[in-house]
Amino acid sequence: MKGFGQGVSSIFFILLALALLIFGRSNNLAVEKSRSAVFNVFVPVLDVLSRPFEAADDLMNWVEEVAVVFSENKRLREENIRLRQLQVTASQLAIDNQRLKKLLNIKEGSITNVATSRVVSDSGSPFVKSVLINSGADDGVRKGQAVVNEEGIIGRTINVGSGSARILLATDINSRIPVKLAASGINMIMEGDNSPDPKLSFLPLGKEIAVGDVVLTSGFGKIFPPDLPVGQVIEITEDQTIRVRLAANMRRLNYVTILNYDIGQNLNKLTLPEEKGQ
């Protein structure tokens, strides 16, 4: 009799899991809300648990940095000289740029820094590339905001709890980010495929692309502000698969910044015809 009961409960739970797999697939609000309610409870726990790991990681970094401190210092001095020269040019260009934008009547979207938060969890699965952070709706984080660090873009918020949020990384198979090539301004879409280096797709016919091309966000899609660093083209295969090495080191994400991007109305009007042309 006990065996029979066990058999029934096994079948019940297997069917329940299957039903969840099939029906939980559609992004319905109830499923999303219950998910965020659950991870919201565990994020503080993960936050505490990951602290010693962070300390150990910091220590390793410190050792690595001490080892190269002399050569790094020399390199940085040289870079500093070069950057000082660039700074003069950049400030001149900024003035020019502002004047020209005024002439064209371009209204730029406003970018606000919503929160800087700590990454407390990583999916640790080859099928999902996402992380949990320790700020959420209470800190002003909303679904569909851009997430960056000092190196470049990371991803976007997809599920927000009161004190935590899930970020879909740019490498995830569901990630699509509108980008452009810095040099030519060609608009493309960067698609994640769960590998470390996402693909670029929709290269317009007859346009050229080369390894080493710098990729920036294009600002279309209203999530990422334009001109944020994305990465560099590292590979173009014969079947036209173009891969981008992201500027941000996705293997070591400690702190990230969430940006809110409010698009200016005129920008919309200006960019639409250009999009159609391609």
Binding site: L16, A17, L46, F53, G124, P126, N159
Partner: protein, 171 residues
């Protein structure tokens, strides 16, 4: 609810198997991974569910396994129900064969686990590929299975300490 009442009666230590599995689950989703393994994490919860299903199946009932799997799906952001399904199936298989494992030595259990880890990897690959509507990279999951097999002795040793704790308090 039923499980909770039962736990109260027989004391807090009976929740050790459940708690130890949760702890391993949390370790799995911590952002700091093993160096040079490029974000591959061993299936620690598979080891825990396997271990407790062999040695103390009564303390990790199927409802608990299901809940743990679901929690893993939620925390990792993966397909909802995937780990719940796979871990429940593991428990069912072990329970049907479990009595054969009990009297055997560690090496035998490890060998059975090798097979289990590969099949588990294969099925998770199949479910994820179906769910994401695109065949996933098979090498990653193979790496994950191998890593799981490699850490098996260490995790089993740790869980053995937990089990020893159970016994000593039991007397």
């Amino acid at each position: 609810m039923l499980m909770k009442d039962k736990n109260k009666e027989i004391g807090i230590r009976w929740s050790f198997p459940f708690l130890s599995t949760i702890l391993l689950l949390l370790v799995m989703v911590l952002p700091y991974k093993i160096a040079y393994f490029d974000n591959l994490m061993p299936f620690l919860t598979l080891i825990a569910v396997y271990y407790w299903s062999v040695f103390k199946p009564g303390l990790l009932p199927i409802s608990a396994v299901f809940a743990l799997g679901l929690l893993q799906d939620i925390l990792s952001g993966g397909p909802l129900g995937m780990m719940a399904l796979l871990l429940v199936v593991v428990r069912v298989i072990v329970l049907n064969q479990g009595r054969n494992f009990l009297e055997r030595d560690f090496l035998f259990n490890w060998l059975v686990f090798v097979l289990m880890a590969f099949i588990f990897g294969l099925f998770s690959w199949a479910v994820a590929s179906y769910y994401l509507r695109e065949a996933q990279n098979f090498w990653n999951i193979l790496g994950q299975s191998i890593l799981t097999i490699a850490v098996f002795p260490v995790v089993v040793w740790l869980l053995g300490l937990v089990r020893a704790g159970l016994k000593s308090e039991n007397r």
